[in-house]
Symmetry: C2
Subunit: 374 residues, 2 copies
Amino acid sequence: MTKPGAFNILATDGQARAATLTTAHGTIRTPVFMPVGTVGCVRALSPDDLMNLHAQIILGNTYHLYLLPGDELIARRGRLHAFSGWDGPILTDSGGFQVFSLQALRKISEDGVEFRSHRDGSKHFFSPEKVVSIQHNLGSDIMMVLDECVPFGADKAYTAKSLELTTRWAERCRQAYPQGAGNQLLFGIVQGGFFPDLRTQSAAQISALPLDGFAIGGLSVGESKPLMLKIMRHTTPLLPPDKPRYLMGVGTPMDILDGIEAGIDMFDCVLPSRNARNGTLYTSLGKVNIKRAEYKEDDGPLDPACGCYTCSRFSRAYLRHLSTARELLAYRLNTIHNLHYFLELTRTAAHAIAKGTFQTFKAAVKKVHAHEHT
Amino acid sequence: MTKPGAFNILATDGQARAATLTTAHGTIRTPVFMPVGTVGCVRALSPDDLMNLHAQIILGNTYHLYLLPGDELIARRGRLHAFSGWDGPILTDSGGFQVFSLQALRKISEDGVEFRSHRDGSKHFFSPEKVVSIQHNLGSDIMMVLDECVPFGADKAYTAKSLELTTRWAERCRQAYPQGAGNQLLFGIVQGGFFPDLRTQSAAQISALPLDGFAIGGLSVGESKPLMLKIMRHTTPLLPPDKPRYLMGVGTPMDILDGIEAGIDMFDCVLPSRNARNGTLYTSLGKVNIKRAEYKEDDGPLDPACGCYTCSRFSRAYLRHLSTARELLAYRLNTIHNLHYFLELTRTAAHAIAKGTFQTFKAAVKKVHAHEHT
């Protein structure tokens, strides 16, 4: 059996790569999109829905699961896989992003970050060791190091100081769970804000650590799309080529193809699931707001080129009716479709890379989705 | 092929009967519980969920579908079966119950009832002919006549006058859709409030009409359980024995068994689905509030005797977590379980009747559910 952490590049096309990454719960093919399962389920979907979608790996949020129902309770249930009924690979974030984005009252020190629960205001403390311990309790296949996600607009002096802290925290995470300590992988996170030289510095420091994969953090935090792409394109080639690369929290279909083109392997984003719940649906013909009156009497499928459950079973008229009536079924059907779109996008990208036709594929998607910012 | 409307009693056990009723979309076995699909879907469930539950027939609400998305729009989509993707039998109510229970501003006349939409306050008028026309547009397998559902506490004089109106409206419904006019069945509704002699009078009038089945309306409107049972037990034997009998909007598991015992064949109630969304779940061990702290660390299935998807796949601890976190998945999983419970209850009752063991079965369920009022 292949060992967790094994990363095999099967094909390249320019900087884009098609690869496999082995985890304790199975081998995933990259490029891959990871649906976000905030509190132990992907909102509105069952684990069987995800299997039917051929989702390969899902993301769990350490911050949310730590607060509710608690990582120790989940550990006693046999960890997150047994608790949630999802038996495939799981990646957990470190909770850092939520602490830094949801919390105004956080206090950062060398040791870690103190914050208040968004639920009940109670005080909590995340150190590098603590978030590794939580993720160990959750039993995720891929753990993320604790990092400081600097806000958009932070100055260079602060960002430079912060990235050094992120590096020291990454070292402490690795020490808290040394390589080979178990079958959970640990990924590092490159920070450095919107300063290319600081990104270079952070990438050099983080890449030097014995980690199983490398992520780009701190993007999609309010900056313009060109700036996001500039930093992503600057940073990606600085990451070790023989390890998986993960662009955190990004993005639209075009962002994902831009990332793949630059050499990114893994993506997660709430966009498809959150938009689904608003009735905004991604299709081969462009984005559709299914609540619009023009779909009232439209008996065709949402996307004629889509093979998902929703498109093979229901009409635009019915989806429009359920979505405007805010029926619970709408959330599930729309989420199934949007996740199918994102999953199929990365699957098709992998095939295109293997065939050496990635640019043709990207150009075709761009024709439809070029002007979308969400 | 058996003709829609054919009703064959296969077995009796006391007054209880096991039978089959043929509709244009298939033959159903009775006693049967009909899940309520208010606006063209059973809340939180897909048609495939209902098929997996072996639901035989579902109910659609004429009032809600008329207002949203509109019966004419549904007719243009190929009627309710094509629109919603549910290909099994559908019964639609007449809208009368909603008009009389949701609307303070209704105005009743010989011709029909004027009311305002609960959505936008717009004025509408339901006549017997209009509700038949709406149900024809919806294409339901079983249509219900328009009736006046008198409020609990109405005096005898009013109730007596009202039941005569209900009879005249039933006649007009039948004239608007004569027997054999198409393959939709039409059921009558007995009213008469809480006055046994008025129930006798209404049953005699309605039973005399050439209708395909007979319902008891006007119960579960605020009266005590003994009074509901008294009127139900008084009225049921007055309905034609060779036609299906339907107890509208009732009730708890024990109410259903009491109804079956008296000779009722069909039931509908929002109780299992509405309670599911609140986390109140029916099990072989009694009613469970899954949000209670005692289930936090309970790794067992919700109901060890249940074979539903939810019970075979998830733990009480996980259901408690999803339900307290108000995750959308909780609504679906809990609804699946509760509907399975009600469907299995009527299926098992049918088997017990065939074996002549209905009283034993009822006594066993009573041990668990005797003291439940919701």
